[in-house]
């Protein structure tokens, strides 16, 4: 039987006329990958994200294992200006306008003489970590709340739903700022805070599915046969929500990266000297007139990363839900 849910993220698992076996096949990982590979835009998204993630992993290794030793050895330190001089170099190609520009610093340097390209490289670390971690927190929290809420119903459902509604009612950024003020102004709490803001999204997705499944005939039958609801929910409903959750999570990573960039811009994210894009933009504000490129590049880095996640999310949606584009 086809179930009707009210969310637009309704997926093939719910389309009419698909047999049970087909549902499994269609939401399975391999099916997803095959569909995505056929979709050009989704592929571009995967390449973009893949590239940035590789850079982020390399940057993390250099940071944690070598303490920026690799960067320093072959290039320069992303956190310190060895000469401690204040200088702003323009990128290559802008020499005539600003007088200088060297191949050593293809995107120029920031106000403390640090190479912008290098800091962008090392900024991927924060962006990617935060994007994935915050989404994972929201995903786990939202799934748990949604499943418990839909499973127990009654007053538990009411309380939990009012709670997520309330979270939703405070504008994201304001909520995270207040949260970080209370618990700590560092990256960990930024991730947790941003994660919390996405709890309602995943909660709604999972809860509607649990509720609709609870009312299905075959669940009644299974229950009569002594199968525990909990097993039904955790073995059946949640795995079957794979497709919409994947789409939502991909898009949510992009959103999280944007929010964290905004937080860093306000001074609530990664603290200097750790390179992060938002904080670079924040620093660049004082130099917009003499060195506009300082403001341009970090923004482009954010833009490209978030576009990567957005087109992958859209591509997944198209691949998994043929109804939208046909």
């Amino acid at each position: 039987m086809a179930t009707e849910t009210d969310t637009p993220t309704d997926t093939p698992a719910n389309t009419e006329g698909t047999g049970a076996g087909e549902i499994e096949a269609r939401v399975g990982l391999r099916y997803t990958l095959r569909q995505v590979r056929r979709d050009t835009t989704a592929r571009i998204g995967i390449y973009t994200i893949g590239f940035i993630t590789v850079v982020a992993v390399l940057a993390s290794i250099d940071h944690y294992v070598f303490g920026y030793g690799v960067a320093e050895a072959i290039w320069y330190s992303p956190v310190q200006d060895p000469e401690q001089v204040e200088r702003l170099l323009p990128p290559v190609g802008m020499e005539n306008q600003f007088g200088q520009g060297t191949l050593e610093h293809p995107m120029g340097t920031d106000h403390r003489g640090r190479d912008i390209l290098g800091r962008l490289f090392y900024g991927t670390r924060i962006a990617i970590t935060v994007g994935f971690m915050a989404t994972a927190i929201g995903l786990i929290g939202g799934t748990l709340i949604g499943a418990i809420s839909g499973y127990y119903g009654g007053w538990i459902d009411d309380v939990l739903q009012r709670f997520t509604e309330t979270i939703y009612a405070i504008p994201f950024l304001v909520l995270v700022i207040a949260f970080m003020t209370a618990f700590g102004r560092n990256l960990t709490f930024a991730m947790v805070g941003v994660g919390i803001t996405s709890v309602p999204v995943f909660n709604r997705l999972i809860r509607s599915r649990v509720v609709s499944v609870r009312e299905e005939d075959y669940i009644e039958a299974a229950r009569a046969a002594g199968v525990k609801d909990r097993n039904i929910i955790f073995r059946h409903v949640i795995p079957n929500s794979f497709a919409p959750v994947l789409v939502q999570a991909t898009l949510q990573i992009g959103v999280s990266i944007l929010i964290v960039a905004g937080l860093s811009f306000l001074g609530f994210g990664a603290q200097p000297p750790t390179p992060s894009w938002g904080q670079m933009l924040s620093a660049s504000r004082n130099y917009m007139l003499p060195a506009p490129t300082f403001s341009i590049f970090p923004g482009i880095a954010i833009l490209i990363t978030v576009i990567g996640f957005n087109i992958l999310g859209d591509g997944l949606q198209d691949a998994l839900d043929p109804r939208i584009n046909n």
Partner: protein, 332 residues
Amino acid sequence: MGLLRYTLWRVAQAIPVLVGIITITFFLANQIPGDPVEIMLGPSPAQGQVEAIRARYGLDRPAYERFLTYLSGVVTGDLGRSIYYDRPVLEMILLRLPVTLYLTVSAFLFAIVTAIPLGVISAKRRNKPADHVSRIVSLIGVSTPSFWIGLMLIIVFAFHLGWFPARGLPLPWASPADIRGAETQLQVVWTSLHHLAMPMVALGTLQMAQITRIERSSMVESLQGEYVKLARAYGVSESKIARKHAFQVAQLPVITIIGLGLSTALGGAVLTETVFEIPGMGRLIITAINNQDYELIMGTTFMFGVAFVVGVIVTDIAYAYIDPRVAYGEET
């Protein structure tokens, strides 16, 4: 009348959410480490001064008691006193709130006015060049940080071209005496709009992009509706179908998205106000946090929540106004 009853019901429904917001903000504010009194009085306050101030602001009482006091205060319109500024919180908020609302509402107007035609054109010319352009524009729009758009606008249009001012946002109803270079009210309005242009675009772009996407997909769906087939079969012209028959139904998801987008937009206002140095609610909450000003933090957070809740109620009523099924009680 269905609509009126629906409105009242919707407002009543919001009350628990508002209480929830107060609870959360109160809880968060209580977690804040550090002592506001110490910040206020400096490192070595005089004997007894700390205690006196604590007693004055009720900080010496247990948390639940303060919560109840705060709650009853909110009901009577008293949001407490800012410890740092020693002024009523409500008074400070009322000074800043209009600026933020002015900015946010304009951003939404900008977004709606541009997005709806874009989305409709996109849907009508699906998979044609116009559609691709509009989809790429909206993809970039949802992926760009609003504050960066602000920075770029400042660099190009304020610093290099000099067309728009880079900072500040006078209100259009401000007195001409307060605005430099303005003598008549009309000039004030003009100055205000002149200042508004860039922050409005910066804040509105994300909404514009999001509304365009929803408008497109919802219009595509609506154009395939049976009622559109019926209208066609009765000789209604394509342009009228797009303007009326398919259009009105397609606006329902758009309205929902506008309501939810308010959350992003109000949060985004904090960033936009920072970029353009606009003294609104966003700057107020940042200042409050930097000064560890409990009551002010609670008050501003609460106010942001109220603004969002009111916005959602307004969009819900707009929804009910367009979709008769809501006001007349049928589940949709």
